[in-house]
């Protein structure tokens, strides 16, 4: 029989080995799905890896995809650390994109040194504000934040659609006849294009740099500040936090806003680094917000690990988008992400518990002497 015991200490090497093992296990499982549905798993996988990481220019493209994943991953990690389940990074990212593109259009004649910081700030403010809604509802009306933050994702998506497809909004391009018939957003001026930093043949987008800075800041917040200490106490035990005089409600709102701000930067970077236009369909298809949850969980909520995982999953997503077609069905990326997460969750058991294979207790060897001691 199998017995599961809690480990007294976490095994250090398992902490690193489990996520790596999860990726391998998920690769095998997805290979099986491919095989069953008549695709060659080895070929598919080698194409994925090639397109994601090794082909010329692949790494630069991967970093562009990894940027929003990094930021939504950090957004999820920031909230989950406190056991506050912000599932709304998706919508907060949309809002960040709306805010950043709006500012970008408004400041069209200004210098990049003004426009770009303004876009980042707009992403932070709109993302944080959108996330504050479920935060306030959780803190002051005890409403389940999982459901409210998720419902607001749909609302945010519809808001974007409204701005571009069903209104004559500020974001919509109405300058040409085609644009009026086939609705699309206004393109941002060149000054609103974010720069990237070349490093050994790979272009590192500004958003990714911001993400790395955000990871470092998040790490400092959670390890070295009063704010982070309070958040960790709340995350561990709400009762202990109340006991220690920590004002839980304010903290919930603050952490939700922090989480939303990070997702909002992700949205701003999608505009500044990549799309340069508010593109509701493209953003919704990418579903970076949900993928961020996978990133955070796989990174075990460690901000620095989020960077690594975001690059890995960014590569897969990037390859998935570019390969999509008859031979490479859509949906594979989500399936793969889900599988990775399942394996990581199963692997988590190994980190916290020791599994022993023991004989059934009943099959103990018979006592040599007839037992005298007995019950009743």
């Amino acid at each position: 029989m199998i017995r599961i015991e809690r480990r007294l200490t976490e095994s250090r090497w398992l902490v690193a080995a489990v996520p790596a093992g999860s990726l391998v296990a998920a690769a095998i499982l997805s290979g099986l799905i491919l095989l069953v549905t008549g695709h060659d798993p080895v070929a598919t996988w080698s194409r994925l890896l090639d397109r994601g990481f090794f082909a010329p220019g692949a790494m630069s493209a991967t970093l562009v995809t990894a940027t929003p994943l990094l930021l939504t991953g950090l957004a999820a990690a920031a909230a989950f650390r406190m056991q506050t389940w912000n599932i709304g990074a998706e919508g907060q990212l949309y809002l960040g994109a709306v805010g950043a593109s709006g500012i970008g259009i408004a400041l069209r004649d200004q210098s990049p040194f003004l426009v770009i910081p303004a876009m980042i700030l707009a992403g932070i403010v709109t993302g944080a504000a959108w996330a504050a809604i479920p935060g306030v509802l959780r803190a002051y009306t005890r409403t389940n934040e999982i459901i409210t933050s998720l419902m607001l994702n749909y609302v945010a998506g519809l808001l974007m659609s409204y701005l571009i497809f069903d209104s004559h909004s500020y974001w919509r391009d109405l300058s040409t006849f085609t644009a009026r018939v086939f609705p699309q957003g206004k393109y941002l001026p060149d000054a609103a294009s974010w720069p990237n930093f070349p490093l050994g043949g790979i272009a590192i987008p500004l958003g990714f740099v911001l993400g790395m800075i955000a990871a470092a800041v998040l790490w400092v917040i959670y390890t070295a500040t009063r704010f982070g200490f309070e958040a960790r106490v709340i995350g561990d035990s709400r009762a202990a936090a109340h006991y220690a005089g920590i004002r839980t409600r304010r903290k919930i709102v603050a952490v939700m806003a922090l989480s939303g701000a990070l997702a909002g930067i992700g949205g701003a970077s999608e505009i500044g680094d990549f799309r340069h236009v508010l593109d509701p369909r493209g953003l919704q298809q990418a579903s970076f917000g949900y993928a961020g949850i996978v990133v955070a969980a796989l990174a075990r909520l460690n901000p620095f690990a989020v960077i690594v995982v975001a690059i890995l999953l960014g590569g897969l997503s990037n390859a998935g988008f570019s390969l999509q077609g008859a031979t490479f069905p859509a949906g594979l990326v989500g399936t793969l992400q889900g599988l990775i997460l399942f394996c990581a969750l199963a692997g988590e058991l190994l980190v916290h518990y020791r599994i022993r294979f023991a004989r059934r207790a009943g099959a103990a060897p018979p006592a040599p002497v007839p037992a005298r001691a007995e019950i009743a």
Binding site: R226, F229, D236, S237, A240, H242, A244, E374
Partner: protein, 501 residues
């Protein structure tokens, strides 16, 4: 039971235990907390499986893979923490999981069940209303339901784990009557306890466990409390006792409650116009049966629960609002009964738990940033001063033993130099050594001038430590007596609601 061995990670809970009990006897299983009594009984009821050893029932080997097997074999357990579903009725709790000819069917038959409950409760003089919901019942009534549940299943062997821990002395006497009634019917009663007097009062034989091993089995008639205590602890024990009361008149008032009322978690009134005074250096014990407002009283004083009316006054100044931070700043320290979960954050390290309240102030933090080195130094210092056994300050609190968790709590609370300390069941679940240490720390704090409100269901503890004893019943103080004048009988009556002048 023969050669029973059970290991848990890091603990050998039962080591080659041999144990027998006969029909018609009340057999006490005596040992201090952590001696392995509960583990043994959990093996006996199929909840745990032994790593080694075997069990025989009426001479035949028995193997329990699950609780169901034990139930089918006629072994029933009355747990210390009742295994009752609070939102269910008495009848629903009784038929839970039960399968015999009478009610094996798919549908529930409340009438039949209620009839059988009525019959059982008449026979063993344990009145209960089958339709009442568990949460509406008093602790004593809930225990009756637990016992009825076991009888309803036709158990021939009944195991009772610390059954008197939450009863008034009178209720305990009633229970002993019922147990004798059942033994007279040739049932086997295994009575688990760490209280010597009640073991002497109710049992025929006693088996003593210490650190997972059987020390010996003796006839109750051939022994006395002193011998049993020595067997149980391995040395002569003399608990720390309060020597003498402080001269009250000279002391200033540390804590005063004036007409305090509050509601419980379900919004029902839990405290009514409570008036209470604790002087500096005085220990005031609050006795009572669980669920009579003790929890709410502690929370109101420490700001964790809103009061609906009245005043909480610390050293002459009334509290403005009711929030924990204000209480902390006013010098009210608190040792809650839920140690792991409220008193400490279980996954955080010992060092972090030791600054759970002080983290806001210099030197632990300045300008919003923590100082890890000072947190560590603080931990090293407190671990030394309070003798906290942890492998390092970085160890997560949940890995500590109950006694060490309690020391972490007391170290943190007492090192903040409080004016008032509210301590709830500070020694429940601790072994003898830790109990003694904790009591010593409380007495020392009182000597240093801290006013202590000691809230406990353990009357012995209150009698050992308190200068004055208040009794709480139904959210009201039914009486306050000086310890020198306190009698157990009288306190018991007050705990059951009889008011005194």
């Amino acid at each position: 039971m023969r050669g029973i061995t059970k290991r848990f990670p890091g603990v050998l809970a039962n080591d080659q235990v041999d144990f027998e009990a006969l029909p018609g006897e009340v057999h006490a299983l005596l040992g201090e907390n952590g001696a392995g009594k509960s583990t043994l009984s959990n093996i006996l009821t199929g909840l745990y499986r032994p790593d080694e050893g075997e069990m025989l029932l009426y001479g035949k080997p028995a193997t329990f893979h699950a609780p169901r097997d034990a139930i089918d074999a006629g072994v029933g357990m009355v747990h210390q923490h009742f295994r009752l579903a609070a939102s269910f009725t008495v009848a629903e709790n009784l038929v839970l999981g039960h399968r015999d000819a009478a009610d094996r069917g798919l549908l529930l038959e409340p009438r039949v069940v209620e009839g059988r409950i009525a019959e059982l409760s008449r026979r063993y003089r344990m009145p209960v209303n089958p339709r009442a919901r568990i949460w509406q019942l008093s602790v004593g009534e809930q225990q009756r339901v637990e016992i009825l549940k076991v009888l309803y299943r036709g158990a021939r062997i009944l195991i009772l784990d610390e059954p008197t821990s939450q009863l008034t002395p009178q209720e305990a006497d009633d229970l002993f009557q019922t147990l004798r009634l059942m033994a007279a019917e040739q049932r086997t009663i295994i009575f688990i306890s760490h209280k010597l007097e009640e073991v002497m009062a109710v049992s025929n034989r006693v088996t003593v466990l210490r650190r997972g091993k059987v020390i010996g089995t003796v006839m109750t008639g051939d022994t006395n409390t002193r011998e049993l205590a020595r067997m149980m602890v391995g040395r002569d024990v003399v608990f720390t006792q309060k020597k003498q009361g402080p001269a009250q008149a000279e002391r200033q008032v540390a804590l005063e409650l004036r007409q305090v009322s509050a509601t419980g978690d379900l919004g029902t009134p839990a405290l009514h116009n409570v008036n209470l005074t604790v002087h500096a250096g005085e220990i005031v014990g609050v006795a009572g049966v669980a669920g009579n407002g003790q929890h709410e009283l502690a929370e109101v004083v420490t700001g964790m629960r809103r009061r609906t009316s009245g005043q909480v006054i610390v050293t002459g100044r009334p509290a403005r609002g009711s929030n924990p931070l204000e209480a902390i700043r006013r010098g009210i320290a608190y040792v809650p009964d839920d140690r792991l979960g409220t008193g400490v954050a279980p996954s955080l390290s010992v060092a972090e738990n030791l600054v759970l309240k002080a983290f806001r102030r210099p030197p632990i933090s300045t300008q919003g940033f923590l100082h890890p080195r000072r947190i560590r130094a603080n931990a090293v210092e407190l671990m030394r001063r309070f003798n906290i056994a942890a492998s390092s300050p970085q160890t997560p609190a949940r890995q500590l033993s109950g006694g060490n968790i309690q020391k972490v709590l007391l170290a943190r609370e007492l090192s903040s130099h409080p004016r008032v300390l509210v301590a709830c069941s500070p020694t429940s679940g601790l072994d003898v050594g830790a109990t003694d240490t904790v009591r010593g720390l409380l007495l020392e704090a009182a000597r240093d001038g801290v006013g202590i409100l000691l809230i406990s269901e353990d009357l012995d503890e209150i009698l050992a430590l308190a200068d004055r004893i208040a009794v709480l019943y139904g959210g009201r103080i039914t009486g306050i007596v000086e310890r020198q004048h306190a009698e157990v009988e009288q306190l018991g009556l007050m705990m059951a609601g009889a008011a005194t002048k």
